[in-house]
Symmetry: C2
Subunit: 186 residues, 2 copies
Amino acid sequence: MTHNLSIALAHHPVQNKNGDTITSAVTNLDVHDLARCARTYNIDTVFVVTPLEEQKRLIGQLVAHWVSGYGATYNPKRREALAGVQIIESMEAVKDTVALRHGVPPKLVATAARPPRETLDQAGLRDLLETGAPVVLVFGTAWGLSPAFLENADHVLAPIHGRGDYNHLSVRTAAAIILDRLLGDR
Amino acid sequence: MTHNLSIALAHHPVQNKNGDTITSAVTNLDVHDLARCARTYNIDTVFVVTPLEEQKRLIGQLVAHWVSGYGATYNPKRREALAGVQIIESMEAVKDTVALRHGVPPKLVATAARPPRETLDQAGLRDLLETGAPVVLVFGTAWGLSPAFLENADHVLAPIHGRGDYNHLSVRTAAAIILDRLLGDR
């Protein structure tokens, strides 16, 4: 297990098309996809971050169905993946949870398609993980993590370059690529 | 542009949980995600393969909205991605279309989480692409491409290994990882 790395899927604080800070709705497929990615790369926890009680309840029901309800026998591989999902109200609560678990607060590494500041590259992230420090890799929804969050994160990861300038991947696919580049078997 | 490579998202022939050959329904997010991935790696065409007229119509409407309807001005980056989507009724039609375009029929490289035969590795796929031959990389939905399709494809690509044995990624994330391993700026 990559015990000191966890991932967070943030629905707040994220930005809308105009750069305003908003809260986005949770997309079921995001939860499934990121949970399966985390399991594939031996990451223990996927924090699904939303301050909205109704959203927490809905995603809670989805996860419970597949982890302990009928779905658990119907699709054990999905249960295995979704068992790593932790629904939580804020990035502050993520930090507190990880700090309790590891004894020190985590480093937050934000991801962004168009980072507003100097970035940390893959090698730098690997070095950070090798210190054993707890690290949370944070993915934004909607139009990405808010400007304030990106400004205050410990690091912002360098964006994905494919074969040209186009860089508008969904959070599902961006997260998969980032995790594979970091931890994949090649 | 990686002119001789295209990708196909097959809803037939795929298999269900029991290994029977079925036709699955198209998932909107699959189309968006694969279209964006293709654009990121400079792949011209994403074939969305379904024999069902109603499905073809629905996906046609989705693509038309974002490519030539209101959506085209609302989100030009989505338009740019979805402009590469071609909705088509079968893998035979995909082969014919590519053959017309390139003058020779394409090699079909199937993907599978648990390949039933010897596989082609990433290096082998790169070599194949470098010959200039047209290649279609085929992704299955539901529980993956049908046994018969996997048996008859020219090649089956080696599956993704992460950090352990778990290999139950969604088609969206598996496709992203495969394309990035093949074409990404690493």
